[in-house]
C-alpha cells in the first residue's frame, strides 16, 4: 500500500496528500434479552486531498488499486479547479512542520484479536441479563460492545510517510425502571484506546450493570431537582464534557475564524487561575488508554500536549496546518478525518482540566447547600459559549454532606463565566467521556476528563 501511495505522490505535480484507511469494526447490541444487532463492518479506501491555486479539492476511491487511487487524485484536482472561482480568499500556504515518518501504534490490538466474537457477544448478553435480574422494577435493559481496529497510511508531497495502527473499544449499559406509567433510565459507558483488559480496568461489566440497575430503580422514588442557579461539584466526566463541549469547540481555529466566543481572546483571562485546560494527542495524564489517543493526525502532523488555558489565561487555539499558517503558530495536530472518504477537519483529542491539590472530601465538605453531579449525559454548546449538559446522577449536598438522589437534572451556563467561577479544584484525575463520538459533520473518537471542581451553574429542573 505504502509503495502505491509513494509512487503516485512522487509523480504528482503540486501538493497532494493521500490517506489510505482500512477499518474493521465489530458491534453487538443486546436489548431485553434479544441480540438486536451483531455486526461486523469493513470500510476501506483512499482519500485524496489537493491544494490547487489556494483552493482545496477532495475525492476518494473505495479501493487500494493504483489506477483507482490515481483517478481519485485526478478528480480532486478537477474539483479544486472547478470550485476555484467561487473562493474569495486563497489558502496562502500550509504551515511548515516536521511531518510524521515511520510506524505508529496505539491500543492493544493483540488483546482484541485474542478474544473470540462469542466472548464479546457473551459479555453484552451477560451484562444485559444481569441488569434485568437485579430488580422486579427493571422493565428493560441494554448492553452494547463495540470495537474499531484502524490501519492508515498517510503520504504527502511535503514529506508525510506514516503507517498508523489504532485500536479502540467501548462498552455501555443502560437500564429502564418502571412503576405504573412512570419510567426512569440510567446509563453508563466507557471507551478506551486499547483492548478488553483496558476497557474494564476501572470497573467490570458486572459492576457497571449493577450500578445502572441501582440508579434506575432509585430514581423512581427520587424527587426532581429544583431549577435555578446552584453551587455544584462537577465530577471528572462533567468536567471533561465542559472542557470538550463548552470550551474546546470554541477554540477550534476554524470556528475561531468564523467568530466564535473565543475569537480575539488569546492572552486574555477567561477562567479562574485554578484552571489549566489542555487538549492532548497522547494521554500524558491519568490512564494511558484515554479514548481519544492520537499520535499522528490526518495531515501527518505529530500530536502533542496543547495548553488551551494556562492558569486562567487563553493560551492557544487548536489548529490544522492551514489555520496554523494564518495565525503564525505551529500546527497542533488536530486535523482528523473519520473515514477514508472524509476530509480532515479541526477536531479535539483528549481534552481535560489539570488537577489541583484539594482532597475530594474537602471539596464536598466546603458546600453548604448545593449538588454533587455525577456522570455526563449528552451535551450541546453554542457559539456564544452557552452550554447545556445532561447529568446522570444529581445528589443533594447540605452542610458538606452528600444526601439524597434527585432526578431530571441538566445544567447550563456561559462556559467562560462558569470557568471563571471555579473556586476549588480537587486532586485526582479520571478520564470520563471516551464512550460515543463527537459529531462535527463527521464523527471523531475523543475523551475528556479532569478532577472534581466546585462552581456555579444553572440547573434545569422543576
Amino acid at each position: 500500500m505504502r509503495d502505491v501511495l509513494q509512487d503516485i505522490v512522487a509523480n504528482h505535480a503540486g501538493w497532494l496528500e493521500l490517506r489510505a484507511h482500512e477499518r474493521r469494526a465489530l458491534s453487538v447490541l443486546v436489548r431485553k434479552g434479544v441480540v438486536e444487532s451483531a455486526a461486523f463492518r469493513t470500510v476501506s479506501g483512499v482519500g485524496a486531498r489537493v491544494l490547487v491555486d489556494g483552493t482545496w479539492g477532495f475525492s476518494s476511491a473505495a479501493s487500494f488499486e493504483r489506477a483507482d487511487v490515481a483517478r481519485a487524485a485526478h478528480d480532486a484536482v478537477a474539483a479544486a479547479r472547478a470550485s476555484s472561482a467561487g473562493r474569495s480568499r486563497r489558502v496562502a500556504r500550509l504551515q511548515d512542520c516536521a511531518l510524521a515518518v515511520g510506524d505508529f501504534r496505539t491500543g492493544d490490538a493483540a488483546d482484541l484479536a485474542a478474544r473470540s466474537t462469542e466472548e464479546k457477544t457473551a459479555l453484552a448478553v451477560g451484562a444485559e441479563a444481569r441488569i434485568r435480574a437485579s430488580s422486579a422494577a427493571i422493565r428493560s435493559a441494554s448492553a452494547r460492545y463495540s470495537e474499531i481496529v484502524d490501519r492508515k497510511w498517510i503520504v504527502s508531497t511535503d514529506g508525510a510517510d506514516a503507517h498508523i495502527e489504532d485500536t479502540k473499544a467501548e462498552f455501555a449499559v443502560g437500564a429502564v425502571a418502571g412503576e405504573g406509567d412512570e419510567m426512569t433510565t440510567a446509563f453508563r459507558g466507557v471507551g478506551v484506546t486499547g483492548g478488553l483488559r483496558d476497557l474494564f480496568a476501572a470497573a467490570t461489566a458486572d459492576e457497571m450493570a449493577d450500578h445502572v440497575a441501582r440508579i434506575a430503580v432509585d430514581l423512581l422514588s427520587a424527587p426532581y431537582a429544583p431549577g435555578g442557579p446552584a453551587t455544584v461539584v462537577l465530577d471528572p466526566e462533567l468536567v471533561g464534557l465542559l472542557a470538550h463541549e463548552a470550551i474546546g469547540h470554541t477554540v477550534e481555529a476554524d470556528f475561531v475564524q468564523s467568530g466564535s466566543a473565543a475569537s480575539g481572546r488569546l492572552g486574555k483571562k477567561v477562567a479562574s487561575e485554578l484552571v489549566t485546560l489542555v487538549d492532548s494527542g497522547p494521554a500524558v495524564i491519568g490512564a494511558p488508554t484515554a479514548g481519544g489517543v492520537l499520535l499522528v493526525d490526518d495531515e501527518g502532523v505529530l500530536t502533542g500536549r496543547t495548553v488551551i488555558i494556562d492558569r486562567g489565561v487563553l493560551a492557544s487555539y487548536l489548529h490544522d496546518r492551514e489555520s496554523a499558517a494564518v495565525f503564525g503558530v505551529p500546527p497542533t495536530g488536530n486535523a482528523r478525518a473519520w473515514q477514508y472518504d472524509d476530509e480532515p477537519l479541526i477536531r479535539m483529542r483528549n481534552t481535560y482540566v489539570e488537577p489541583g491539590a484539594t482532597p475530594l472530601d474537602e471539596v464536598i465538605g466546603s458546600v453548604r447547600e448545593g449538588l454533587l453531579l455525577r456522570g455526563a449525559g449528552s451535551g450541546q454548546a453554542d457559539a456564544n459559549a452557552e452550554f447545556m449538559f445532561g447529568v446522570q446522577e444529581a445528589y443533594e449536598i447540605r452542610d458538606g454532606k452528600v444526601g439524597r438522589l434527585l432526578r431530571g437534572a441538566t445544567i447550563s451556563g456561559d462556559a467562560f463565566e462558569v470557568l471563571s467561577g471555579i473556586d476549588i479544584v480537587s486532586s485526582g484525575f479520571e478520564w470520563g467521556i471516551g464512550s460515543g463520538a463527537c459529531g462535527k459533520g463527521q464523527e471523531a473518537k475523543v475523551d475528556g476528563g479532569g478532577p472534581h471542581v466546585r462552581c456555579r451553574v444553572v440547573v434545569g429542573g422543576r
Binding site: 482545496w56 467561487g86 419510567m183 468564523s258 456564544n384 441538566t410 422543576r462
Partner: protein, 449 residues
C-alpha cells in the same frame, strides 16, 4: 422493479446464494451505489469541493434462529464473499431468537419522482454556485452574520434489497441538500448558533436562498439576548423545537419494538387519546420530494401511509418484520437504515397536520410566554422527561414578540405536554424528512439563570 437494476440486483443475488450454499437457512442482501458532489462552506467562504462515488453492501444471514450481519463498502465479489463469511461467523456467536427472520415478498408500487437525472449531471461548478447563493443571501442580509459552515450537495444512486424468500426490489434515487450554520457577531457580542437545512429528491425542490435567509434572520434576531424570567406558562415551539420535544418522543414511543419491550408510554394505548385533539402526526412514505420517501423499506417491504396520532388519538404503531412477527401481524414497512445497518424501526417522512391558527394569531393570544426557535437539550424518549436551553428564543409579552432570550431553560414531560397542546399552526415548514408546524403548549416550566 424500476430503473437499470441488473448489476446491483445481481450482486445481491450472488450474496444471498453464497450465504445459502454456505449453510444459512435464510439470507438478505441490501446494496447501494452512487455518487455525489459536495461543496463545503467554512469561515464565510467556499472551503472545499468534493466528488465521490461509493458502493455498499450489507448481508444478513439466519441459521437455526441465530442472526448475523456484515457490511463492506466494496461491491466486488471477494469483498461480498468475506461479508457472507463474517455474517455467518457472527450468527454462530449469537444466541437464537424465535422471532428472527425475513419478510415475504409483496408487490411494490414504485413511486415517481424519487430520481432526478439532473443530480448525476450536476457538476462541482453548479454546486459551488448554489453554495454561493446561500452564502450571499446570509451575508447580504446583515454583515454581522457569520457562516461557520455550510454545504450544498447533489447525490444520485440506486439501492436494492434481495432476500431468500423472494424479495427483489430496486430503485434509483437522488437528493439535493443544503445546510448552513453559524451565528451573528456584533463586536464582542455573539448570538446563539442557528442551523437551517433543506432537502428534496429533485433540484427544483430546494431553495438555498430561503434556507440562508431563515438562518440569517434567526441569528441576527438573537443578538442582544437577555436573561428571561422564571415562570410557568405557554411556550410556542417553532418547527425545529417541535421536532425535538413533540415529534421525537412520539416516534420513539410509536415503535412497536419499544412497546414490546415495555419502554414506551404508548403501551396499551392504541386507539386512545395520547395528545390534545389539535395534534395530528402522520408518517408519509410518498411525500412528494420528501427525502425519506421510498417505495420499499430496508427489508424490501412497501410502506403504507399511516396516521400515527390523529386528532390526539394513537392510531398506528410502526413495525418492521421482526416486531411484526412478535405481534403475529404483517410489517407496515418501517424497517429503517441502509446497507451498513441491521434493520431497525424508523419512520419515513413525518408530517404534522395543518392547524387552525396562524403563527401570528398564536402569538397574539399569549399574554406572557416564550417562543422557542430551537431546543438545545435532552428528551428522554422512555420517560418523556425533557430539559434544555431555549435557543433563538423570544419573550412573548402582551401578544407581541419582545426581547431575545439567553440563559433560559424549559423543562417538563413530553408525554404530559402532548395533552396540553393548545394549537398547531396553519403554516408548516419543510425540513429534511419532515413537514412541521409551530406548536403552542401551556404550563411549561421556564427557568431563567
Amino acid at each position: 422493479m424500476a430503473g437499470n437494476e441488473r448489476d446491483l440486483i445481481e450482486i445481491c443475488d450472488a450474496a444471498v446464494a453464497l450465504a445459502r450454499r454456505s449453510g444459512a437457512d435464510g439470507a438478505e442482501a441490501c446494496a447501494s451505489r452512487g455518487g455525489a458532489v459536495d461543496v463545503v462552506l467554512q469561515k464565510n467562504d467556499v472551503h472545499l469541493a468534493k466528488s465521490s462515488e461509493a458502493g455498499a453492501v450489507g448481508v444478513r444471514v439466519f441459521r437455526s434462529g441465530r442472526m448475523g450481519f456484515a457490511f463492506s463498502n466494496r461491491l466486488d465479489a471477494p469483498s461480498v464473499a468475506e461479508s457472507v463469511r463474517a455474517a455467518l461467523g457472527i450468527a454462530a456467536a449469537s444466541p437464537p431468537d424465535p422471532h428472527n427472520g425475513l419478510p415475504e415478498p409483496l408487490p411494490v408500487s414504485y413511486q415517481d419522482g424519487l430520481y432526478d437525472a439532473a443530480a448525476r449531471a450536476f457538476g462541482v461548478e453548479a454546486a459551488v454556485e448554489s453554495a454561493l447563493v446561500m452564502l450571499r443571501a446570509a451575508r447580504g442580509y446583515d454583515a454581522r452574520v457569520m457562516v461557520d459552515a455550510g454545504e450544498f450537495s447533489a447525490r444520485w444512486g440506486e439501492r436494492a434489497v434481495v432476500n431468500s424468500r423472494g424479495v427483489r426490489a430496486h430503485e434509483p434515487a437522488s437528493a439535493f441538500q443544503c445546510a448552513i450554520l453559524g451565528m451573528a457577531r456584533d463586536g464582542d457580542v455573539v448570538s446563539s448558533f442557528d442551523y437551517q437545512s433543506d432537502g428534496a429528491r429533485g433540484g427544483a425542490g430546494v431553495d438555498p436562498a430561503a434556507v440562508a435567509l431563515r438562518f440569517a434572520e434567526n441569528v441576527v434576531g438573537s443578538l442582544g439576548a437577555v436573561k428571561g424570567e422564571s415562570f410557568s406558562g405557554p411556550v410556542l415551539l417553532a418547527p425545529k423545537a417541535a421536532a425535538h420535544v413533540v415529534c421525537y418522543p412520539i416516534e420513539a414511543a410509536a415503535s412497536a419494538r419499544s412497546v414490546q419491550k415495555g419502554t414506551s408510554r404508548f403501551c396499551g394505548r392504541l386507539g386512545q387519546m395520547v395528545a390534545s385533539e389539535e395534534l395530528t402526526l402522520a408518517d408519509d412514505p410518498a411525500l412528494p420530494g420528501g427525502l425519506a420517501s421510498i417505495s420499499f423499506d430496508r427489508e424490501g417491504v412497501p410502506p403504507e401511509a399511516l396516521p400515527i396520532v390523529e386528532r390526539g388519538a394513537l392510531r398506528h404503531l410502526l413495525y418492521d418484520s421482526y416486531a411484526a412477527r412478535v405481534d403475529g401481524r404483517a410489517s407496515n414497512g418501517r424497517a429503517g437504515g441502509g446497507p451498513a445497518h441491521v434493520p431497525h424501526v424508523s419512520p419515513t417522512n413525518v408530517v404534522m397536520g395543518e392547524g387552525r391558527a396562524t403563527v401570528a394569531e398564536m402569538i397574539a393570544g399569549v399574554d406572557r410566554g416564550v417562543l422557542v426557535t430551537r431546543f438545545s437539550g435532552n428528551v428522554d424518549p422512555v420517560s418523556g422527561d425533557f430539559s434544555g436551553v431555549v435557543k433563538g428564543g423570544r419573550l412573548i409579552r402582551s401578544g407581541k414578540l419582545a426581547e431575545p432570550l439567553c440563559g433560559t431553560m424549559i423543562a417538563g414531560n413530553a408525554f404530559d405536554l402532548l395533552g396540553r397542546i393548545l394549537a398547531v399552526s396553519r403554516e408548516r415548514e419543510r425540513m429534511p424528512g419532515a413537514v412541521l408546524g409551530h406548536v403552542l403548549v401551556e404550563d411549561v416550566v421556564v427557568s431563567a439563570g
